[in-house]
């Protein structure tokens, strides 16, 4: 039996609900945060999952910010992408879980995203490893 034999057919739903009007004020906030980064060097993050945004809103924001030169992929219990937007210093950060579902989404305003920096303790572990290799050779 094929699926066509079932006498009920679903109607193709529209791909994305419309714009809610919540995205433009957010863009204004991004502008403020970029200004703050330049003036004080203070980085900041906007948690996108905490805001009532429709998929269309997110698309609109992404289109406004554009795509930049750097895309960072992090493999840590699912993939994370940290992409620079066309506006330097504004990063679009998306965390996925192992199933590929988006678990959190942020706009990070920083010179370098926090997650990218190496932790001193981890650098120490790397150093210990390298030194042990030197002793072996």
């Amino acid at each position: 039996m094929t699926i066509e034999a079932i006498p009920i057919h679903f109607i193709q739903t529209p791909s994305a609900p419309g714009l809610s009007g919540n995205a433009p004020p957010l863009l204004r906030e991004v502008v403020e945060l970029v200004r703050r980064l330049l003036e004080t060097g203070e980085s900041s993050t906007i948690d996108l999952s905490a805001l009532p945004l429709t998929p269309a809103d997110l698309d609109w924001l992404q289109a406004m910010l554009g795509a930049g030169e750097i895309s960072i992929t992090l493999q840590a219990s699912g993939e994370s992408t940290l992409n620079e937007t066309a506006c330097s210093g504004v990063w679009w950060v998306t965390h996925h879980n192992e199933n590929g579902t988006v678990t959190a989404q942020f706009i990070e305003v920083a010179f370098v995203p926090e997650l990218v920096k190496a932790h001193p303790q981890d650098v120490q572990i790397g150093l210990d490893y390298l030194e042990s290799k030197l002793l072996d050779s």
Binding site: T13, G21, P52, A76, S80, N97, T101, L115
Partner: protein, 359 residues
């Protein structure tokens, strides 16, 4: 086994960035400032495993299912492994006298320091005979184990508010944990079942700060229960625009419009489904096209019909008030300006809460 959490994680092959990412996600779910993720990661990485005793009473094991099958094997599950779960009848290998011995050992060794998790309500009818474990009524066991607990987590609507066992006419005389225990800090994590990440969040908070998170007037962590489903719903903009589904298969339903008129209890239900979602973040009731049942509110079962629309005031002034006071109880006042006059008149009469519907 008692070393810092990050060492245990590293031994299990979890990198610091994985942990940081997890904490960022958790902070996001807990509606903490995005910068809190890093602070949480640092504190949690250095913390040690607390002893946890978990008592299941008059319950359906749905809460246990929700927590343990959330979406393993993720970090969420691992954090949960990282507490020392010393007694849980459904999960533990021991049975009978061995199990009871494990309970008493854990109580003795960690006296005054263990975290007690309770799921299920406590029946008071027939001297508690409706639910007994090892010859003791739930009431006796709860009182005995609560004595040495640092804090109690009432998990699920039954332990928090009596839940479905308490549904009218409450044949077993079911009550909540807080109806019995008055001298210990109690966190209610209601929901039928509760959201796994709320449990993890409370544990994370306990590990990070050594204390329980801030609670609302119903004993629920504000981080997850501070706002209504409606406040955080992705369909909320359609509510504000007056776009409603009128039946489950009309054009509005297909367009993903607001389910308010189909009985959605989102406006009076405080929970985190809209942000935390279910099944590993796949979806949640409203996203799948069904209104919220209000399962994390007291007596939701007797609240007057899942498909009966709530009546709300048509007072536009209340919008500003509700937005200004985070977590205002009934304050989701709403503008029906864009709606047809007929429906506005129909719904303009009164403010209705779940409490009112019970009367």
């Amino acid at each position: 086994m008692q070393g810092p959490l990050i060492d245990t994680l590293v031994r299990q092959g979890v990198s610091r960035r994985t942990f940081l990412k997890y904490c960022a996600t958790l902070a996001s779910m807990m509606a903490l400032a995005p910068s809190a993720g890093r602070a949480m990661a640092e504190a949690m990485a250095a913390s040690k495993r607390p002893s946890v005793i978990w008592l299941p009473f008059q319950e359906c094991t749905g809460c246990t299912e929700s927590i343990t099958r959330s979406h393993s094997p993720t970090l969420e599950g691992m954090i949960f492994d990282l507490v020392s779960l010393d007694y849980q009848e459904t999960l533990m290998a021991a049975a009978g006298f061995q199990a009871e011995e494990a309970l008493h050992n854990a109580m003795k060794e960690n006296d005054g320091k263990y975290l007690l998790i309770v799921d299920g309500s406590i029946p008071l009818g027939l001297d508690g005979a409706y639910s007994c474990i090892g010859g003791k009524s739930n009431l006796e066991t709860l009182k005995e184990v609560a004595k040495g607990a640092a804090a109690i987590v009432a998990m699920g609507s039954c332990a928090s508010f009596g839940g479905i066992p308490k549904a009218n006419p409450n044949p077993t005389g079911a009550v909540s944990v807080s109806d019995i225990i008055k001298d210990k800090p109690i966190v209610n994590i209601p929901g039928c079942p509760p959201i796994p990440v709320v449990m993890t969040g409370v544990l994370a908070h306990y590990l990070t700060f050594g204390s329980l998170p801030e609670l609302d007037e119903k004993g629920r962590p504000k981080a997850f229960f501070g706002e209504t489903i409606h406040d955080r719903c992705y369909r909320r903009p359609f509510y504000d625009q007056g776009k409603f589904a009128k039946t489950f298969d009309d054009e509005g339903a297909r367009q993903g419009w607001c389910l308010f008129e189909l009985g959605c209890k989102g406006p009076v239900t405080y929970n985190a489904c809209a942000t935390a979602k279910w099944n590993g973040g796949t979806s949640w009731p409203v996203e799948s096209g069904h209104g919220c049942l209000g399962c994390s509110e007291p007596d939701f079962w007797d609240a007057g019909g899942f498909y009966k629309a709530l009546s709300m005031p048509a007072d536009p002034l209340k919008i500003a008030a509700a937005a200004a006071v985070a977590g205002a109880a009934v304050g989701v006042g709403l503008s029906f300006a864009n709606r047809a006059k007929k429906s506005a008149a129909k719904t303009a009469h009164e403010t209705t809460t779940l409490d009112d519907l019970e009367k």
